[in-house]
Symmetry: C2
Subunit: 192 residues, 2 copies
Amino acid sequence: MTPRRTALVAAAARLFAERGYHGTSMADLAEALGVQKGSLYSLTESKQALLVDVTRDGAAAFGRALDSVPDEAEPLERLRRALRAHLEVVAGQLHAATVFTREWRFLEEPELTAFRVERRRYEERWRALFREASERGALRSDLDVEAAVLLVLSAANWAYTWLRPGADTASLADRFFAILLDGVRGYAPPRS
Amino acid sequence: MTPRRTALVAAAARLFAERGYHGTSMADLAEALGVQKGSLYSLTESKQALLVDVTRDGAAAFGRALDSVPDEAEPLERLRRALRAHLEVVAGQLHAATVFTREWRFLEEPELTAFRVERRRYEERWRALFREASERGALRSDLDVEAAVLLVLSAANWAYTWLRPGADTASLADRFFAILLDGVRGYAPPRS
DNA sequence: CCTACCGATCGGTAGG
DNA sequence: CCTACCGATCGGTAGG
């Protein structure tokens, strides 16, 4: 990947995030790079190919985030680290994360199907983290694991709308996690 | 509002949700209604005006949802009812809710600013529900209320991506709420 | 509600 | 990387 192409993919990430895939023209991208529109086609074969590249960058970053969670840590600590890592990708690569979360649906086949498979794999990794925690007794025995996974993924997937790059992301993740752990209620929950 | 115009706004909600605002052409809308493109302009003055209508419908529905929460109920019950009502709007008016949540950013001024004001007002109503619960002693005294509001709004705002109209929405809302209340941890949380 | 049309812009290409 | 261009489509309008 040449520096020029890298710059083009970065510009695509930014503009697709800001204006949407269909709201961004090749002329917009050319202007962002300071070249004429026709010149872009020596760097990419199509606008769609740029969307493929940006969504792949996002998927790879989120995948690496979960890879960074240490296997040997305790189950709840692994969950906390996973949430931190996810939110750090959102804050650190906000444009790619935004396109990954919101613009992926404009992918064309076969990449559209491949994207869905990849995203499902990512969600399964989260489910596995919860199941592992459950089997090792770290979670309430009556926990609705599916709802818990959906809740944490909702927080993770919505974060691109409010998380700003300068924020103390680790601390924010921990604040979320604290509520996820113990809830909001003002007295000890009834034991089953 | 004539029946024909209502049908046009409904078609716009569906297509803007499915293909995005910029991914939907006036020709697409005409085809959905079975008329020629030029005929649409007796029903709306522009494509942008349709986006304004759909986002207003969404805002009104979410507003009515919070209105439906009984004032006299207990604080936690009010929160539970609010989450239910919000998710029922998402499931019951999925297209308008999707456009409200994802396509609003293509509004032009002055409606763009008005939308942001309205949405902030909605979020403030949620914050007020939490504050009320806190003041009445229904929440943990050490609760991070801001994080709690953000967590529940994340779940609410992400719901359009997975909630399907046929689902048992009330039950789903209660499953979320149960986790929000008591958390996922497998033992009683330490009291402060 | 239709036909016929407007100028502008779209993604992309050819040839240099 | 540029100029010049392609056919297709865009949102919107005029006149009926």
